[in-house]
């Protein structure tokens, strides 16, 4: 297994790329998804269907299909992004749809009575959002969102199929040189596992902390 350890620096580079991509996607998808999620719940009526269709579309197709389409298809539209930008765009568009659903679910699972009680003591819309809705939505938002973050890290492995040297492709390349697939797949699996399991644990701890707020 010595060579597997020797390949670690190379894998480490790949891991950094994976993390880099994941962080970018999580960040952009969070912003876009939150804005659109709030928009679909509180926005004017004409916003509903466009956002809804966006969400249903990107959640209804496989991520791989989307990545291939963006990667091969965008240049046809004369949109010339480099590899990296293209996949980040594809993954962000994909994840945004999921974040929209998480935000929507978090807000809409708050009982209507909360908004009514907040109205009845004279709070304005902004005050209601800030003091009543968001604190409660946040607790419902975090666990599924962290789940989405884990999915993002796992989904980022697909960029290896369009030539981006992330952890997945790094593993493939080392295997290509050493012809010993199994140890490397296991090593790679462990590396992915460590990242994602840590996130899952954080999510579970958060859930437990907020459990004292029984509805």
């Amino acid at each position: 297994m010595l060579f597997a350890i020797q390949s670690l620096p190379f894998l480490w580079q790949g891991l950094l790329v994976t993390l880099h991509i994941s962080v970018l996607i999580v960040f952009f998808a969070l912003i876009a998804g939150t804005i659109l999620g709030i928009g679909i719940v509180y926005g004017p009526g004409w916003l509903y269907w466009p956002i809804r269709l966006y969400s249903d579309f990107f959640r209804g197709i496989p991520l791989l299909v989307l990545i291939f389409f963006m990667y091969y298809g965008l240049p046809v539209f004369k949109v010339n992004l480099n590899n990296f930008a293209a996949v980040v765009l594809a993954l962000t568009a994909f994840k945004t749809a999921h974040v929209i659903e998480v935000v929507r679910g978090a807000i809409q699972s708050i009982p209507k009575g909360q908004t009514e009680a907040a109205k009845s003591i004279g709070l304005t819309f902004g005050q209601r959002l800030l003091h009543v809705i968001v604190p409660q939505a946040l607790r419902r938002f975090l666990p599924p969102w962290i789940n989405a973050v884990v999915d993002t890290v796992k989904g980022s492995a697909l960029v290896s199929l369009v030539g981006i040297v992330d952890l997945m492709l790094a593993i493939q390349q080392v295997i290509g040189r050493t012809y010993r697939p199994m140890p490397l797949y296991v090593l790679g699996a462990i590396m992915y596992f460590v990242i994602n399991y840590t996130l899952s644990l954080a999510s579970r701890r958060l859930e437990a902390r907020f459990a004292y707020i029984r509805e």
Binding site: V65, A157, I171, Y185
Partner: protein
């Protein structure tokens, strides 16, 4: 200006239609095996000791935190290299997806079993059913009806996951699309046909499964 030309796509549409069928079959077989795995492990978990629970949890956590792509490669390339045997790509993918599905099914069934109202088990005891009879005749049927929504979602999700079979050249829908695209350079046309195929199939499945749910599920 790019001129749309669907000719090549329609000529080779059979790759897409058969590919779609294969995708549905792969998902179906995997969810069946996955359910078998998930159910037995869930039952083992609820009645087992610390060791059993740890093993099941380990399996579930591992599968859920590792990319499916890596699992596909691991099973297809990795296992034969240490096991000495080889299998074809389709078998390999079914094994992978079943194991993958199994991990999710363990959670679904565990939650489902826990959601069976204890009153039903008590009622079963009251009319003299043995423990095994209670499991088979009372808890399992009830549990299945509770988890139907999760099962529908899982099936559609697995259907989309079959697109990963294309990376080991299993001739499902995405592979067919890649083939057409590579041989014709008609990227837009290919994806313009394949994307709706996934979308429509996925939502049609959900629709049908939800109709079934309404008839059988307990909410």
């Amino acid at each position: 200006m790019y001129h749309l030309n669907f000719g090549y796509v329609w000529t080779h549409f059979d790759k897409l239609s058969w590919g779609l069928l294969l995708s549905l079959e792969l998902a179906f077989v995997s969810i069946l095996i996955g359910m078998a795995i998930g159910l037995s492990l869930a039952l083992a978990y609820t009645s087992g000791g610390k060791l059993v629970r740890g093993a099941v949890a380990g399996y579930v956590e591992f599968i859920r935190n590792v990319p499916l792509l890596l699992l596909v490669y691991l099973v297809f390339y990795g296992v034969p290299s240490v096991g000495g045997f080889a299998y074809d790509s389709t078998t390999s993918f079914i094994i992978t997806l079943s194991v993958y599905a199994g991990a999710y099914m363990v959670e679904v069934f565990r939650a489902g079993l826990a959601a069976v109202p204890k009153g039903l088990t008590d009622a079963g005891k009251a009319i003299g059913l043995t423990a095994w009879q209670r499991v088979v005749s009372v808890r399992l049927p009830t549990m299945f009806r509770i988890v139907l929504p999760s099962l529908s979602n899982a099936y559609v999700s697995l259907f989309k996951d079959t697109s990963l079979a294309s990376v080991i050249a299993v001739p499902e829908l995405t592979y067919g699309a890649q083939w057409i695209k590579t041989n014709s350079f008609r990227v837009i046309e290919t994806w313009a046909v394949v994307t709706p195929m996934y979308l429509v199939t996925g939502y049609a499945l959900l629709f049908v499964l939800q109709r079934l749910e309404r008839r059988f599920a307990i909410h």
